[in-house]
């Protein structure tokens, strides 16, 4: 609407979705969406969490059936009944959660959708590696998938689609699992595919990535198309951001400086093992004071997740000690730590933080159900009013408090989780990737909550991969790499490059070139 679609006729349009509607119980995810993607281009599909991007793409990929709407591929009308229909029409999708099988080899994963009746392993592996080389995807086809990193798994997903010779590739927030250098690599791969005549739909809400990779953009807001086929080059990031959120999304201003008090959390020579039994981090010594936010920066997989687990009591430490408010909690149970005032916002919201099949109310009282009971019974009324209170105070948008929590969008899940954790008036907050995958307003809300906590004298540890965020809201910044602290920075004076260098200090030489 901001701009008329560029002069197109049906033959140059790879995908044409018009007036698509789709409702789930309590939510209308798509309310008359339109989308046109020109052949051979990389098309950005932008929108906040819950704007209906994933739903629309699941319709295009045949996973969901639309309630209403028309779908044309290369000018031909289609009604997909299942993903197989979409695949045979040339549509392939890389979902946010990969659809890969850990016990299968790379080659088996790739050919699963379309294999010869009888498989000759050698031959299949050879064909897969030929295809991979054509588009610059580096993977070993005989390797079992469970040994691969997230970035490599994404390449396998893309290979799967290319193997089916899909002409339209949908990537649902592909960069969330990638390191910055991998994002660049992905951009090159996608450009190669577009030059090969394929069309790519790139779902994202990271504007700087979109402007580096995509040709055109469609913006969704609250289930509707607010702008279509915007040429990226001539549209400013600010304009895109405005379209996405509806109002001007000003960049977060630095909060007022903190007034740190006594140390509330002290790590002394702490070490722990990772999931594979290798050392995740070693000999960490630092402290977090009352009234400050300490940021932990680093590329994912350098021990940050394990560190958060150890502080929360979900993973044993191998050496060293952990003190909270002067008391040794090195071997204390998670329940004891929570009672002593430790709040934990885990990275894995739906797995560790919340129970997906339980209701919103059940999830809200998960930590404090002992207060909503009489004898062995939970008091439903009391639990519900407690839940309403959290939902209200932390701005969770939800239709049905008795409904399963999995129906909430990412941002609302996080508000509920953060609300639940902060409600107990903690003295220490450990927040692991608290704003990842959230929309602009969600990010802001969560950041403000953490700053509020800080101002009321809480010690906050914030683990994030978003360096800009850390530089804006933290009071001290530690950089973690290969399980050790590579440097401490003052975010007021540190430059982005300096910190970035520390993040990549050693690992870089091993992974690249």
């Amino acid at each position: 609407m901001n701009q008329a679609p560029s002069s197109t006729n049906d033959s140059t349009l790879a995908v044409e979705l018009s007036d698509v509607w789709k409702s789930f119980p309590g939510v209308t995810a798509n309310a008359g969406v339109n989308l046109s993607v020109r052949t051979g281009t990389i098309h950005a599909l932008l929108g906040e969490n819950g704007a209906g991007k994933s739903t629309l793409m699941n319709i295009l990929a045949g996973v969901y059936r639309p309630d209403r709407g028309e779908l044309k591929i290369h000018g031909q009308s289609h009604h997909f009944r299942n993903p197989a229909d979409a695949l045979s029409a040339g549509i392939g999708m890389v979902h946010q959660e990969f659809r890969l099988i850990p016990s299968f080899s790379v080659a088996e994963n790739v050919v699963l959708g379309s294999a010869a009746t009888v498989l000759r392993t050698r031959q299949v592996e050879l064909q897969v590696s030929e295809l991979a080389e054509r588009f610059g995807l580096k993977v070993d086809p005989s390797q079992p998938l469970w040994q691969l990193s997230m970035g490599e798994r994404q390449k396998v997903e893309i290979l799967k689609i290319l193997w089916r010779n899909a002409q339209v590739l949908i990537l649902d927030e592909p960069t969330t699992v990638l390191t910055p250098s991998e994002v660049g690599e992905l951009g090159d791969i996608l450009t190669k595919m577009a030059n090969d005549g394929r069309s790519i739909i790139f779902i994202s809400h990271k504007l700087h990535e979109v402007s580096g990779i995509c040709d055109e953009a469609t913006v969704l807001r609250q289930g509707k198309t607010v702008a279509s086929a915007l040429p990226i080059e001539s549209t400013g990031q600010r304009e895109l951001a405005q379209l996405m959120v509806g109002t001007s999304a000003s960049s977060t201003d630095r909060p007022s400086p903190s007034t740190p008090g006594a140390p509330l959390l002290e790590l002394d020579g702490l070490s722990a093992l990772g999931d594979r039994g290798l050392e995740a981090f070693s000999n960490l010594t630092f402290q977090v004071n009352s009234g400050e936010i300490v940021g932990i920066a680093g590329v994912a997989g350098n021990g940050q997740r394990e560190l958060a687990d150890v502080i929360a009591g979900l993973r044993p430490s191998t050496t060293g000690s952990l003190l909270m408010d002067g008391a040794d909690i090195t071997t204390a149970s998670p329940q004891f730590r929570f009672k002593s005032g430790l709040a934990y916002i885990p990275e894995d919201r739906l797995g560790v933080g919340l129970a997906p099949r339980l209701s919103i109310t059940d999830n809200a009282i998960l930590r404090v159900y002992r207060q909503q009971r009489r004898g062995p019974f939970i008091l439903a009324e009391k639990a519900l009013s407690y839940c309403k209170d959290i939902v209200h105070r932390f701005g969770v948008r939800s239709a049905d408090l008795e409904g399963p929590i999995a129906a909430l969008s990412g941002g609302n899940l996080q508000r509920l989780l953060v609300g639940r954790e902060l409600d107990g008036e903690p003295s220490v907050v450990v927040a692991s990737q608290p704003t990842r995958g959230l929309d602009v307003q969600g990010v802001k809300a969560i950041q403000e909550l953490l700053i509020q906590q800080r101002d009321s004298g809480v010690a906050v540890i914030m683990i994030s991969e978003d360096l800009d965020e850390l530089l804006t809201i933290t009071d001290r910044l530690l950089v973690m790499e290969s399980g050790v602290i590579r440097g401490e920075f003052d975010p007021r004076t540190a430059s982005r490059d300096e910190v970035g260098m520390a993040m990549l200090s050693d690992g870089q030489a091993i992974t690249d070139t």
Binding site: A61, V63, Y64, N82, P83, A84, L87, S88, M93, H95, R99, L100, I101, P102, S103, F104, E108, V111, L112, G113, S114, A115, A116, T117, V118, L119, R120, T121, W146, K160, R164, R276, G277, P356, A406, A407
Partner: protein, 310 residues
């Protein structure tokens, strides 16, 4: 212990091994596709009784075998309908199937108890080979179902490892959503695996009444269906290893009835526990290894799949 009785022991080992192998292969197929079917005992019983009845009525052992396989496949499909079609709890449905199958077999067979068999599958004679010492009687004078079991083992192994169908079937057992998005019908794959598994359990039951003990009595299956379920775990979901396990477990069954004649003072009850003890040991090994590598159990085993559920 004479040479003849030792040969007899090995003959029975192979024969019981084949009996267990057929049923275990069926369970392996279903589990590889992601459906746990604890109804093996019931399906075997129905296979046994329908084979016997069809033998009496039709006087043709091959027709009887076919009837048994079909009956058990239909019974298995009831499990398939509830668990795959409706997403019902697999353990509950499977246990019900065992109880239903045992009851159904008792009901169907009540007029046939004690009757002489109408048809039998007699041992195959292999020209030249059957007369060899030791290997002749042990491997080349067995009932045709033994060779069927071997053939099925090779077939299942080949299909699973080297065909598109096998790849899709294993995928359905590992991750239904991946299989679905790859364009395979999870419903179709799982239903057919469960039905095929039922047919194999039926063949195993038929082997009992057409060859091993050619008569019908209630409780004839005597828990062998459960051994077949354990065998799949013991063999770490691999057709070859399950085959080796079948011979070991078959050996315990064969030995159980012969201990006394061998003059060994050892309780046959302890021997009956052996398959389960061995299975527990294997479970332990798998669990310890699982810290370093994925477990050999299909990852989606026991999980129902509905496409639009988040």
């Amino acid at each position: 212990m004479t040479e003849a009785s030792l040969i007899g022991l090995f003959v029975a080992t192979v024969s019981f091994g084949a009996l267990l192998y057929l049923a275990a292969l069926g369970e392996l197929l279903a589990e590889k596709a992601g459906v746990l079917n604890l109804g093996v005992e019931g399906m075997m019983a129905v296979g046994a009784v329908t084979a016997f009845i069809a033998g009496v009525e039709l006087k043709n052992p091959w027709a009887a075998l076919l009837v048994a396989m079909l009956s058990s496949a239909i019974l298995a499909s009831v499990h398939g309908f509830f668990t795959v079609g409706l997403g019902a709890e697999q353990v509950v449905s499977g246990l019900s199937l065992t109880i239903l199958g045992l009851g159904l077999a008792a009901y169907l067979g009540k007029d046939y108890v004690g009757l002489p068999p109408g048809a039998e599958l007699v041992p195959v004679e292999w020209a030249g080979l059957s007369d060899l010492p030791w290997v002749g009687p042990i491997f080349f004078s067995q009932a045709p179902i033994v060779y069927l079991a071997l053939l099925m083992g090779i077939t299942v192994s080949f299909v699973l490892s080297s065909t598109r169908l096998g790849l899709a079937l294993r995928a359905a057992g590992e991750s239904a959503s991946s299989t679905d998005s790859a364009g395979h019908s999870v419903l179709g794959l799982r239903l057919s695996a469960v039905a095929a598994g039922g047919a194999l359990a039926g063949a195993s039951g038929a082997y009992l009444t057409l060859s091993i003990t050619p008569q019908w009595a209630e409780g004839l299956t005597a828990g062998r269906g459960w051994i077949a379920v354990a065998l799949v775990i013991f063999g770490a979901w691999r057709p070859g290893r399950v085959g080796i396990g079948a011979l070991i477990f078959g050996g315990t069954l064969a030995l159980k009835t012969r201990l006394q004649t061998f003059g060994v003072d050892f309780s046959p009850i302890i021997l009956s526990m052996l398959p389960y003890v061995l299975t527990l040991v294997i479970l332990l090994v798998i669990s310890i290894q699982a810290r370093k590598r994925p477990s050999p159990a299909p990852f989606g085993l026991g999980l129902a799949y509905r496409r639009e559920e988040r």
